[in-house]
């Protein structure tokens, strides 16, 4: 990677972090409605994965989708405007936090029913396989999704049809407030892929470069016909499941321990230690990222509400 690329990944992670923190404030002040699931702590996962994809590779994820939205190149303005339900939002204010997508950037959402997007991912990959296009579909989901039937149907189908999918489990240790050992018969999630004879491995999701390197290699193999593969990426969400989470299920000590293992801090250290960037340069990136997020709030707040007639548009293509 060129230096500018290293710095850009740092920029993306800081934008996500600051955007999520701003969103939390806007939620508490009532400007964002509905559910809000923050990506704080998991930034290295999507930043690393998506930095390794090619434009023709498709991305699809669950409802914790703001980070992915930024990584695929949706502007902070459009993400923030969507959170505020404005006409300028990426889904025209009709989707909200859980339903962001940009098909021009090969980002297929933003899906809010746990696990339901996994069969869709198999279908996206089928679209490419059908036309002999060498592209990979990257499907992200949480550890909680590995206990629902959709997961098993999708993994099975992808293997039976040898589809170019990379299944990415973001293991953040909790399905809402329930720990893996209380919800899953198999505590080591990646072993579920063994049940479908699917190549799998565990990656440290706090280390952006580790995620990126593994992803580069796996995407390449899948692109070249290895069949579907499975990545379990170990990560942690620093905030609750959603903004309404009282967090009775975990100790502050545990949260603190993980926070000291901050993906942005780890990457920062790496850039300094390897002499890729200086403290001053990274400070500047942080400042730029903060300016981007601040501007996005101003943009979203000053954006118009959707027009009333939008209520009845986009139900069908053909009336």
């Amino acid at each position: 990677m060129e230096k500018t690329e290293y710095l850009d990944l740092y920029h993306q992670m800081v934008v996500i972090r600051r955007l999520e923190e701003s969103a939390a404030e806007l939620y508490q002040s009532g400007k964002i409605g509905g559910f809000l699931h923050l990506y704080v702590g998991q930034e290295a996962v999507s930043t690393g994965l998506i930095s390794a994809r090619r434009p023709e590779d498709r991305v699809i994820t669950a409802y914790r989708d703001h980070g992915v939205a930024i990584n695929v190149g949706i502007s902070a303005n459009q993400v923030m405007a969507e959170l505020l339900g404005k006409a300028t939002g990426i889904s025209k204010g009709k989707g909200g936090s859980m339903h962001m997508a940009d098909v021009t950037k090969n980002f297929w959402g933003g899906h809010a029913i746990v696990g339901a997007h996994l069969p869709l991912a198999a279908g996206l990959a089928l679209g490419d396989a059908y036309r002999d296009q060498k592209a990979v579909t990257i499907c992200m989901f949480g550890d909680g999704a590995t206990n629902i039937g959709f997961f098993h149907e999708a993994l099975n189908l992808s293997k039976v049809w040898n589809l170019p999918v990379v299944w990415v489990c973001e293991n953040n240790k909790y399905g809402m407030g329930t720990t893996i050992d209380r919800a899953s018969a198999v505590s080591e999630i990646r072993r579920k892929a063994d049940g479908y004879e699917m190549k799998n491995q565990v990656v440290d999701g706090m280390d952006l470069l580790a995620v990126r390197e593994t992803a580069l290699q796996v995407f390449d193999e899948v692109r070249n016909g290895s069949g579907p593969q499975f990545l379990e990426i170990e990560t942690y969400r620093f905030r609750g499941h959603s903004m309404g989470d009282p967090e009775r299920y975990r100790q502050q000590e545990e949260v603190k321990q993980w926070q000291e293992n901050d993906p942005i801090g780890i990457y920062h250290q790496h850039l300094i230690k390897d002499g890729i960037a200086t403290e001053e340069e990274l400070q500047q990136v942080v400042k730029d990222a903060e300016a981007v997020v601040k501007a996005s709030v101003a943009f979203a707040e000053s954006s118009p509400e959707p027009a009333p007639e939008e209520l009845f548009t986009d139900i069908y293509m053909e009336e």
Partner: protein, 323 residues
Amino acid sequence: MARITMREAISQALWEEMERDPDVFIMGQEVGVWGGTYAVTKGFYDHFGPRRVRDTPISESAIVGAAIGSALTGLRPVAELMTINFAFVAMDHIVNEAAKIHYMFGGQMVLPLVIRTVGGGGRQLGATHSQTPDAIFAHFPGLKVVSPGTPADAKGLLKAAIRSQDPVMFIEHATLYQMRGEVPEGDYVVPIGKSIVQRPGRDVTIVTYSKMLEVSLKAADKLSQEGIEAEIVDLRTLRPLGMEPVIESFKKTNRAVVVEEGWPSYGIGAEISSRIYEQAFDYVDAPVKRVAQKEVPLPYNRTLEQMAIPNAEDIIAAVKEVL
């Protein structure tokens, strides 16, 4: 025009659309090597090959979900659910994904998807395999729901569904595959959302669709012998609902019977009669009557099952009540 069966008409529509557009493909249980559990896709696998005629595992969520995903890439999947009773297993993908995906992302995603499935009772398949839950699917904005009652409409509507840019549930009836009728050859397309008068009459309007069209026509023939001329409107599409021919007919006859095979509660008849009252209240000479399935899970026993499913006598009795 050739006189062919409903099965042949559906098969013909699929075949012609697959020949016409390389993006059209079929996926579902036993659609390939087996040739379709109702033999609709017999010969397709050998002709079009395994890429375009895809046998799936028994995984309804994966069938509908993967069909959605492939449709998002611009393919035109015809996903087959062996019976509509299995659609419940895929309910999330039908109602939470297919019906919403265009709207929810602000119109970015386009879903040219057809879900072909089979409903209806009368074959002693017991409670779980005999349902007519069409109204449930017609409940959701974003889906289109089509259910033909003649071979010609089956061909024309299936072609329209495959060419549609919207997700369409295409509901066939298990006991209509042998029905014969005149079917135009070649590129015959029937627009979705248009009801049609299948039999003209002056005394009463019978609104129906699918299998109950056949039963209603029988009833109308018997009524005719008694000098009662029923006009039969075939809905053909349940969503979007084409009410114009219904209202036009009702304004002429001032009396209506709605006939459906499913249960009456919250059903097609409830919807149609409510719309008649809303749109033509001044023309009402008698309360609109519903003929529908008895409110029981369908039993296996043939006699009991037949008691539960509407027949021509039920329709005749209802017509006489409104006259």
